[in-house]
């Protein structure tokens, strides 16, 4: 695991939704959107629920299919990528509730990046935001 021990979703810059295990995330400042499904979608849902990274890693490492996989390295790379895209930021986890392991086989999480609709999504006020607008 990298130096970052705890992260949260960057609600100030993103809107996201998870449908059928696929997380679609939009950075509203750039108009770039992202997709991650499978284990990546599960990780995103877990982070959205406030789970700490350590609990996510422990739960994934305990999956039978994860035997032989370097879960810590996979998670490290995935988290670094999300931080690099400003989708998550360092912050305290909000929940210590136990995680339920994903009901899918383990595979290294991947983040797909799409830049094909930036002109459609960026700079079209009002921007999507989760915080109340300031008059």
């Amino acid at each position: 695991m990298s130096d970052i021990v705890s992260i949260v979703l960057n609600h100030g810059s993103i809107v996201a939704d998870v449908v059928e295990g696929e997380a679609v995330i939009i950075n509203v400042a750039t108009g770039i959107y992202y997709s991650t499904d499978g284990i990546g979608g599960w990780i995103w849902e877990s982070l959205a629920a406030g789970a700490p990274l350590a609990a996510i890693e422990t739960t994934l490492a305990a999956m039978p299919e994860a035997t032989g996989a370097d879960v810590a390295a996979d998670l490290d790379r995935f988290v670094d990528e999300m931080i690099g895209e400003s989708l998550v930021i360092p912050g305290p986890a909000a929940s210590d509730a136990p995680l339920v392991a994903p009901a899918i086989a383990y595979a290294a999480p991947t983040l797909s990046v799409y830049r094909d609709m930036t002109d459609l999504m960026a700079l079209d006020p009002p921007m999507p935001m989760l915080d109340p607008p300031v008059r």
Binding site: V15, A16, D17, V19, E22, V24, I26, V28, Y33, S35, S112, Y114, D116, M117, D119, L120, M121, D124, P125, P126, M127, P128, M129, P132, P133, V134, R135
Partner: protein, 342 residues
């Protein structure tokens, strides 16, 4: 004359065949309407930056999701577009509620115009209706009072306009009439008459009656220089979501009858909406009674909305085209098809 008349009706800014295919994919209930082209082709046409059709993406996403066909890379793309619009709409609705409450508190109650009213009150959810500016209708003579209230709330104004800038970047436009031109018979109608009530974010708001909203939607294109197609979706939603007073629609008089009939025929034929035949027949009779001046006015409108080329393209037979050409070349109408005067 019926062939040329038909061409004239079809030319009133109505969608082309390619545009109609996209609109059908978004609006027609039957899934077969979405199988004429691949989803990739539909999305490519809707995301063309020059075409201004991104507003269709959430509608298409909604249809395909209900049919279990929102998958793969193009599914992700559509989900992202729908999610973005949902987020924008949530912000938009919050600002709308804020502005309505503030104006109401200042003693200047405002009414939502057609698109906003339908977004909050007709579409299945407001994120299905793309919106750019917040248009608010206040009673005649109250724009200054409403503007003063917006200024007190800290909004900046563009000098000499009734246009205000919200901190989010959203433009807020104040109007004292629901259509941006007075050229229609609806121009003098009181939009507050028969207004309906609804709520957004626990704030009460008024909208014109559903029938008046539908008429506004049908009569907006002749008031507008652009060639937007959102009127098709708005009309479809209004007709499906509300009981419409079709007698009132059929009673439209004057040149407006051309626009209303042309669009109702299009909506019935191409979007497969349940529009009764009676009011359309009554509109045809009204058109048949129009004098030459009114027909010429209709031609001028047609020119604004696509002109002679569009009319010729839409004429289905050579006989209709010849009749249309003769009509255009009449001295009293020829000027309507020339170069626009500044």
């Amino acid at each position: 004359m019926s062939g040329a008349l038909n061409a004239l009706l079809l030319s009133f800014g109505l969608p082309t065949a390619a545009e109609s295919a996209l609109l059908r994919a978004c609006l027609v209930e039957d899934a077969a309407a979405r199988r004429g082209a691949t989803i990739d082709e539909l999305v490519a046409a809707m995301t063309d930056p020059a075409a201004g059709r991104r507003w269709m993406l959430p509608l298409l996403a909604d249809r395909l999701e209900r049919e279990g066909r929102l998958s793969g890379g193009v599914g992700t793309r559509l989900r992202a577009a729908a999610l973005h619009e949902t987020g924008r709409s949530a912000t938009f609705d919050r600002i709308t509620a804020d502005m309505l409450a503030m104006l109401d508190g200042a003693g200047v109650p405002a009414m939502l115009s057609r698109g906003h009213a339908l977004a909050l009150h007709g579409y299945a959810r407001s994120g299905l209706r793309h919106r750019h500016d917040l248009d608010l209708i206040v009673a005649e003579g109250r724009i200054a009072a409403a503007g003063a209230a917006l200024a007190r709330a800290g909004l900046g104004a563009w000098e000499g306009t009734a246009m205000w800038r919200h901190a989010s970047g959203l433009r807020i436009m104040l109007h004292d009439r629901p259509l941006p031109c007075a050229a229609t018979t609806l121009g003098s109608a009181d939009p507050w008459d028969g207004a309906a009530s609804s709520r957004v974010e626990d704030v009460a708001f008024r909208t014109p009656s559903p029938t008046i909203i539908l008429l506004h939607v049908l009569l907006l294109p002749p008031c507008s220089a652009g060639r937007g197609l959102a009127w098709v979706a708005d009309a479809a939603v209004a007709i499906r979501a509300f009981p419409i007073d079709w007698d009132r629609i059929g009673a439209v008089e004057g040149v407006d009858a051309f626009d209303v009939l042309a669009r109702l025929d299009y909506l019935a034929r191409t979007i497969e909406l349940p529009i009764p035949a009676g009011p359309r027949e009554r509109l045809r009779q009204t058109i048949g009674r129009l004098d030459r001046t009114a027909r010429d006015a209709a031609l001028i409108r047609a020119r604004r909305r696509g002109g002679a080329r569009a009319m010729m393209r839409e004429a289905r037979t050579w006989a209709a085209r010849v009749a249309l050409a003769r009509w255009m070349l009449r001295p009293e109408t020829r000027g309507a098809f020339g170069r626009p005067r500044p």
